[in-house]
């Protein structure tokens, strides 16, 4: 939960972080900060550099350039203190198939040198938090994908970390299981842990995050709250298909309620500053005045997908015509 006041403390501070593998700049100069208690997300496609950035922050990769502090400790100078302050859920499942759920947590607690009494108590607490009490003595190879992920979250929380890092926590899970995972993540955050998560699922970033950084090709493209990001695209989006696209562009750009226009392969998207249900009839009227007939129309609120496509510019290249929003419009025309 983001307090949003001047009283919040910065718990992750990254300045000019750069990381390369050979010639590839996987992380290409990023700066950002995360406030204590926040759920902060990196949203970006595969290969954007999310895991590389996380691996530097959790001290698995030696920092190459820039500075990063986690929980007040410098990852380069004080990695041991950073390790003691964080919990991690890695991108791929990292569970020993032949250890039981209880043993997985026991091993982790021992690695971090938790006293035995505290360890036992914490294992009980966490297994019930992620609803795996019944699986305590079951080997992890017999767990479903969702259970494995829950066990990993429990493991990440063993040492009551200040910051929990989640690298694509719901990758490969079915929609229902994903939503339950979101509930666990929110519950963990409510208990006070700051959460840094990476994802390539728009809905996940949208649903969970207090703030999101959109990351592509190793760079942060923009950062904001889900609401704020969507709002940069206007209050509503209208997609139009007409016989005369250049004429439509001219007409729409003359309207004050239209904030920005984007050409698609067969139509135009208009970002509106106000309520689309009121503006749409006016648009159709203005176009009719110019003798332009609208053949297809779709009105919607901007989604995270729209935000992402807007900022990365991907939709202009190839994906635009295939987006569901335009598919609806075309179906209406047939």
């Amino acid at each position: 939960m983001r307090a949003g006041s001047i009283l919040t403390r910065t718990i992750i501070e990254v300045e000019g972080l750069y990381h390369h593998y050979g010639d590839i700049a996987a992380v290409d100069g990023i700066s950002f900060s995360v406030e204590e208690g926040e759920i902060f997300s990196f949203l970006g496609p595969n290969g954007a550099g999310k895991s590389t950035a996380i691996n530097v922050l959790i001290t698995l990769l030696q920092i190459q350039q820039g500075t990063a502090t986690v929980a007040g400790y410098d990852v380069g100078k004080d990695p041991q203190q950073v390790r003691n302050s964080i919990g991690i859920v890695f991108q791929d499942v990292t569970l020993d198939r032949d250890m039981t759920c209880g043993e997985i947590l026991e091993f982790h607690g021992r690695l971090y040198r938790m006293p035995s009494v505290e360890r036992k108590q914490r294992i009980d607490e966490l297994l019930s938090l992620v609803e795996l009490d019944a699986k305590r003595d079951v080997r992890t190879k017999h767990l479903s994908g969702g259970m494995k992920r829950r066990l990993e979250i429990a493991r990440g929380l063993m040492t009551r970390p200040k910051v929990l890092f989640l690298d694509e926590p719901t990758i490969g899970l079915d929609p229902q299981t994903r939503m339950r995972m979101w509930d666990y993540i929110k519950a963990v955050n409510d208990e006070g842990a700051t959460i840094f998560l990476t994802t390539h699922y728009m809905d996940e970033a949208d649903h969970l995050s207090d703030r999101i950084s959109i990351i592509d090709h190793g760079r942060i493209i923009t950062t904001g709250t889900p609401y704020g990001l969507k709002n940069t695209l206007g209050e509503d989006l209208i997609y139009l298909e007409t016989a005369d696209l250049p004429g439509t562009l001219v007409t729409l750009s003359a309207m004050g309620e239209v904030k920005e226009l984007r050409e698609k392969s067969r139509g135009i998207v208009a970002m509106l500053t106000g309520d689309g249900t009121k503006i749409l009839p006016q648009i159709i009227e203005n176009l009719a005045d110019k003798g332009i007939r609208v053949s297809a129309v779709n009105l919607k609120k901007p989604s995270m997908d729209d935000v992402f496509l807007h900022f990365t510019g991907r939709e202009l290249r190839d994906e635009g015509a295939e987006k569901p929003s335009t598919a609806v419009a075309r179906a209406g025309r047939r």
């Binding site: 390790r83 020993d96 021992r110 690695l111």
Partner: protein, 278 residues
């Protein structure tokens, strides 16, 4: 004291006892070696050497007793060289990330794995000895109870230090490699010269000088000498050759094994400090 290595030890032993087939085969295999190779070869060697007149006044031991020390040594060598393979699996399956991202110092990973490997070699050594005695090996002949106990401790000490050396080496190789196949290849390459340029199964006195020189610095030779000293004694004859060993010789062998272990630990530390796991 930081006892973090016990965590690694605990997990590795957990796995050792969990995989029943692996556990049983690792215990039965050296016993089978003992049974088949030992009995077959001792029948041969005893027949071949029966013509050689025994050296008067020197107690004589049969081939089975002689080669049992070699089987213990060989088993220790194999188990230790493969002992680090779990690191390779952990690395490939991403499990090593959890450990590398934890506050556990890296040398504790090496210690933990070495300790569990050593435990396994102890269990095997004891089983082979019991089995060898059962087959008729004349171990501890003429020893008092105190001498026998002291000898047992001596054997475990030698086996322990020797196994540490090769476990450190195995850990160093494993953390540097990508695939288990690579480790298998390297181990095969290593074991051949180590095993055959040693006194494990036959005397080295008839070796050509180069081979003799190699076997003189071969840790396996020193382990076998140690085990023979503790199981048979400091003065005996086998397959027509008179063996003597002073406690000075044995101390020197032990020092050599310690030196080897220290060198291998340094190597492992260096490899671990270079390792990146993502």
């Amino acid at each position: 004291m930081n006892t973090g290595f016990l965590t690694i030890y605990w997990r590795d032993m957990l796995r050792f006892f969990r995989f029943k087939t692996l556990l049983i085969s690792s215990l039965v295999q050296p016993a089978l070696w003992m049974a088949f190779f030992g009995i077959a070869m001792s029948a041969n060697f005893n027949r071949l050497t029966s013509e050689i007149p025994p050296i008067p006044g020197v107690p004589s031991v049969d081939y089975l007793t002689y080669m049992a020390a070699g089987v213990i040594a060989m088993t220790t060598l194999f188990t230790s060289l493969f002992g680090g393979i779990v690191l390779l699996f952990d690395k490939n399956w991403g499990l090593m990330r959890e450990i590398f991202a934890s506050p556990l110092p890296r040398n504790h990973i090496i210690f933990g794995i070495a300790l569990s490997g050593m435990t396994k070699t102890f269990i095997q050594a004891v089983i082979i000895m019991v089995f060898a005695i059962f087959l008729g090996a004349a171990f501890f002949a003429g020893f008092t109870t105190a001498e026998t106990l002291l000898s047992l401790a001596g054997i475990l000490l030698f086996v322990g230090v020797f196994s540490l050396g090769f476990l450190f080496l195995s850990a160093a190789i494993s953390i540097s490699l990508e695939s288990p196949e690579g480790l298998q290849g390297i181990i095969t390459l290593l074991t051949m010269p180590i095993f055959f340029a040693s006194n494990a199964l036959y005397p080295i006195t008839a070796f050509p000088p180069v081979l003799q020189a190699i076997s003189a610095v071969n840790p396996l030779t020193h382990l076998v000498s140690g085990i023979r000293y503790f199981t048979i004694g400091d003065n005996f004859q086998a397959i027509g050759i008179h063996y003597t060993a002073t406690s000075m010789d044995i101390a020197l062998s032990f020092l050599l094994l310690v030196l080897f272990a220290v060198l291998m630990f340094t190597l492992a530390m260096w490899r671990f400090s270079k390792a990146t796991v993502t």
